[in-house]
C-alpha cells in the first residue's frame, strides 16, 4: 500500500521533469530558460513565505475560534471571513499596495491574506466536527484542555485541515503571478511581459511553469498529509 504511493509519487516527479526538459531544450520556450530559473526561484520564495505564514496563523486562528470562549461569536466571525473570500485576489493585492507601497513586503502580505481564509475555515470546521463524545471521553479520563487539543482534536481534524491547506496553496500559487503588478517579481514577469509584447513563447514559459509548480506543490502536500495523518482518521479509500 505505502510502497505504491511512493512509487507513483516518484514516477510523477520523473514525468514532470522529463516534460520540462523537452520544453526547455527542444522548443522555442527554451530561449527563456535562464529567466524561468531565476524568476521561478523568486516565485517559490514568495509562495513559501506567504503560505507558511498563512498556515501558522490560519491554524492558530482557526483553533482559537473553535475554543469555548469564542463559542458565541465564532459563527459570526466565520461569516465575515466567508464574505471576504468573495473579494477578488487582485483587489487584495491592490489594497495591500495602497497601504504598503510596492515591492516584496506588500506582495507577501497580499498573498498571505488571500491564502489565510481557507485554512482558518477548514481548521475551525475540522476541530468543530470532532464528535462531542470523544471530547467527553478525553475529559473523563483526565486530559487537560491543552492535551485534548494537541493529542485528540488536532490529530482528528488533520484531514480537514490539510484539505484546507491544499485549497489555500492552489489559490496562493495561482495568485502569485499577479504580484508582478505590484513589483513582487516571480513568474508573472514572464507572463505579463509576454502578453504586453505579444511574444507567445515568453508567456507560455511563465504560464506552464506556474501550472507545473502548482501541481507539484499540491502533490507534495498530499504526500506529506498521508504521512502526518493517522490511518485511523483517513477516509476509507485512501
Amino acid at each position: 500500500m505505502k510502497m505504491s504511493k511512493y512509487v507513483s509519487f516518484f514516477s510523477f516527479i520523473f514525468g514532470i521533469t522529463a516534460f520540462m526538459y523537452i520544453l526547455m531544450f527542444h522548443t522555442a520556450i527554451g530561449k527563456y530558460r535562464g529567466d524561468v530559473v531565476y524568476l521561478g526561484k523568486e516565485h517559490l520564495v514568495l509562495v513559501a513565505i506567504s503560505s507558511l505564514l498563512a498556515i501558522v496563523f490560519g491554524v492558530f486562528i482557526g483553533a482559537l475560534l473553535s475554543r469555548k470562549i469564542f463559542e458565541k461569536h465564532a459563527e459570526n466571525i466565520m461569516q465575515i471571513f466567508n464574505i471576504s473570500v468573495t473579494v477578488p485576489t487582485l483587489a487584495i493585492l491592490a489594497l495591500s499596495m495602497s497601504f504598503l507601497g510596492i515591492g516584496f513586503l506588500p506582495s507577501i502580505v497580499g498573498l498571505f491574506i488571500a491564502t489565510l481564509l481557507p485554512i482558518i475555515k477548514n481548521t475551525f470546521v475540522g476541530l468543530k466536527s470532532v464528535q462531542p463524545y470523544i471530547l467527553e471521553a478525553a475529559r473523563g479520563i483526565g486530559m487537560s484542555p491543552m492535551q485534548i487539543l494537541f493529542k485528540i482534536e488536532i490529530p482528528n481534524a488533520l484531514y480537514v485541515i490539510f484539505s484546507g491547506i491544499r485549497t489555500a496553496l492552489a489559490i496562493n500559487v495561482g495568485t502569485t503571478p499577479l504580484v508582478f503588478l505590484i513589483g513582487g517579481g516571480g513568474l508573472g514577469d514572464l507572463i505579463f511581459s509576454g502578453i504586453d509584447m505579444d511574444i507567445m513563447p515568453m508567456l507560455l514559459a511563465g504560464a506552464i511553469t506556474t501550472g507545473i509548480l502548482a501541481i507539484v506543490i499540491d502533490k507534495t502536500v498530499y504526500i506529506i498529509s498521508t504521512l502526518v495523518i493517522s490511518r485511523g482518521v483517513m477516509p476509507e479509500n485512501n
Partner: protein
C-alpha cells in the same frame, strides 16, 4: 467506596432553574456495583457525572475511598476514576494500544510498564494481542466496547463510572459482554457506579440499585429488596407487575435446592424406597447409580401396590429426561418446569453427580420468605 452526601445540581437557563438532582445521598461499598436506574431525565446521568465533575455539583460532598474529593483538582481526580460512556469514545487517531495506554502515559509510567500493562489488559478483556496495532474503526462494536473498558481500567483505578456502557450493543452481544464483565469484576473487584435505564440489566449487574425520579432518589437497596419491597408506587410501577418473576433472575439453583434429598441406589430394594416415601409423604424419590449419577425417578403411585421382594429400584423407575446444573438461574428452571410439566428436578454438579433437588414448592417458599420478615422498605443511605 463512594459516598455521596446531599448532592444537588441546579441548572439555570435564563431566569428558570431546573433541579436535576436533589439531595442525593448514598454509599456504595468497596467492590460493589451500584446501578443508577430511572426513566430519561430523572437525574441519574447527572448524578454519575458529578462524581468525576464532568458536571460541577451545585452543593454537597463526594467521598471516594473515604477522602473528600470536592476540592480535589478535576484532572487529578479523573485520572484515578475509570470512565466508560455509551458511545465508548475511543480516539480514532490512536491505535488500540494508544487508546489504552493514554492514562498510564499521562501518569508518566515507563515504557516497559506501559507495554506490559497493555498486554495484561488485552488478556483481561480476552482479545488477542494482535489487536493492539489496529485502529478503532477497524473493530466491531463489541470489540470497541471491550477496549473502552480496558482504557478505563488501564491505570488500575479503584473506582469506575459507567454511563450506559452496554447501551449501544445489540442484544445478543450485550448479554455476552455483560457476562464477561461480571466475570472480570469478580477478579478485579472495583467499586462501580453504572447508569442504566434497563431494569433487566440492573437486576443482572447490580449489588445495589438506586432508582431515580425527577432528580430525587426514590429507593436505594439490593435488587431483591427493590423487587420484593418497592418503597413507593413509582418504584413499584417502574420495576413492573412481573417483579416476582424478575426476582427469579437473582438466584441460582444452588441457593434454593434441597441439599439433602432422599435418594436410593439402583440396586436397593424397591420396598425400602416405598416405605421411606410413605413415612415422609413423598410422591417420588431419585435413583442414582454407583457413581452417584442420577439415573431415574421412582414414583410412589406406580409402585405402591407392590409386595415384598419385588426386586431392585432400577426395574420400576422412570428414566430421567432432564437434569439441572446448579449454577442455572431460577428463571430458566421455572421455564423448564412449565415446559416439561414437572414440579421437581434433580440437581447435579459439573461432574453430573447428584447434589440436590429443586421443586416448585421450594422456589415458592424461598421467594415468600422475605415477605414473612419485617419489610425493610426504604433503606436511606
Amino acid at each position: 467506596m463512594i459516598e455521596l452526601k446531599n448532592l444537588c445540581k441546579i441548572f439555570k437557563t435564563g431566569n428558570k432553574s431546573i433541579v436535576a438532582a436533589e439531595n442525593i445521598s448514598m454509599r456504595v461499598k468497596e467492590g460493589e456495583i451500584c446501578v443508577l436506574l430511572g426513566p430519561s431525565g430523572c437525574g441519574k446521568t447527572t448524578t454519575l457525572k458529578m462524581i468525576n465533575k464532568i458536571i460541577e455539583p451545585t452543593s454537597g460532598e463526594i467521598f471516594v475511598n473515604g477522602k473528600n474529593v470536592t476540592n480535589v483538582d478535576n484532572i487529578v481526580l479523573r485520572r484515578k476514576i475509570g470512565y466508560v460512556i455509551q458511545q465508548i469514545g475511543l480516539f480514532p487517531n490512536l491505535t488500540v494500544k494508544g487508546n489504552i495506554s493514554i492514562v498510564p502515559k499521562m501518569l508518566h509510567w515507563d515504557k516497559e510498564r506501559i507495554d506490559r500493562r497493555a498486554e495484561e489488559l488485552m488478556e483481561m478483556i480476552s482479545l488477542d494481542k494482535s489487536y493492539l496495532s489496529m485502529y478503532p474503526k477497524e473493530l466491531s462494536g463489541g470489540q470497541q466496547q471491550r477496549i473502552g473498558v480496558a482504557r478505563a481500567l488501564a491505570a488500575n483505578p479503584p473506582v469506575m463510572l459507567m454511563d450506559e456502557p452496554f447501551g449501544a450493543i445489540d442484544p445478543i452481544n450485550r448479554e455476552i459482554i455483560q457476562d464477561e464483565f461480571l466475570r472480570l469484576q469478580k477478579k478485579i473487584k472495583k467499586t462501580i457506579i453504572m447508569v442504566s435505564h434497563d431494569i433487566t440489566e440492573a437486576i443482572k449487574m447490580a449489588d445495589k440499585i438506586a432508582i431515580f425520579k425527577e432528580g430525587v432518589l426514590q429507593q436505594f437497596d439490593t435488587p431483591d429488596n427493590i423487587l420484593a419491597h418497592p418503597g413507593n408506587s413509582f418504584v413499584e410501577n417502574f420495576v413492573g407487575k412481573d417483579r416476582t418473576l424478575k426476582r427469579l433472575n437473582l438466584y441460582s439453583v444452588v441457593d434454593v435446592m434441597n441439599k439433602t434429598p432422599f435418594i436410593f441406589n439402583d440396586n436397593d430394594n424397591v420396598c425400602d424406597a416405598i416405605k421411606i416415601m410413605h413415612e415422609n409423604s413423598l410422591a417420588s424419590v431419585f435413583i442414582v447409580d454407583k457413581d452417584k449419577k442420577p439415573v431415574g425417578r421412582l414414583v410412589l403411585k406406580d409402585v405402591k401396590n407392590l409386595k415384598k421382594n419385588d426386586g431392585k429400584c432400577i426395574n420400576y423407575m422412570i428414566e430421567l429426561k432432564s437434569m439441572i446444573k446448579i449454577e442455572e438461574n431460577l428463571r430458566n428452571i421455572s421455564s423448564q418446569m412449565y415446559l416439561h410439566s414437572k414440579s421437581s428436578f434433580v440437581c447435579v454438579d459439573n461432574d453430573d453427580k447428584i447434589v440436590g433437588e429443586i421443586s416448585q414448592d421450594g422456589i415458592s417458599n424461598f421467594l415468600n420468605a422475605t415477605y414473612k420478615k419485617e419489610p425493610k422498605g426504604y433503606e436511606n443511605v
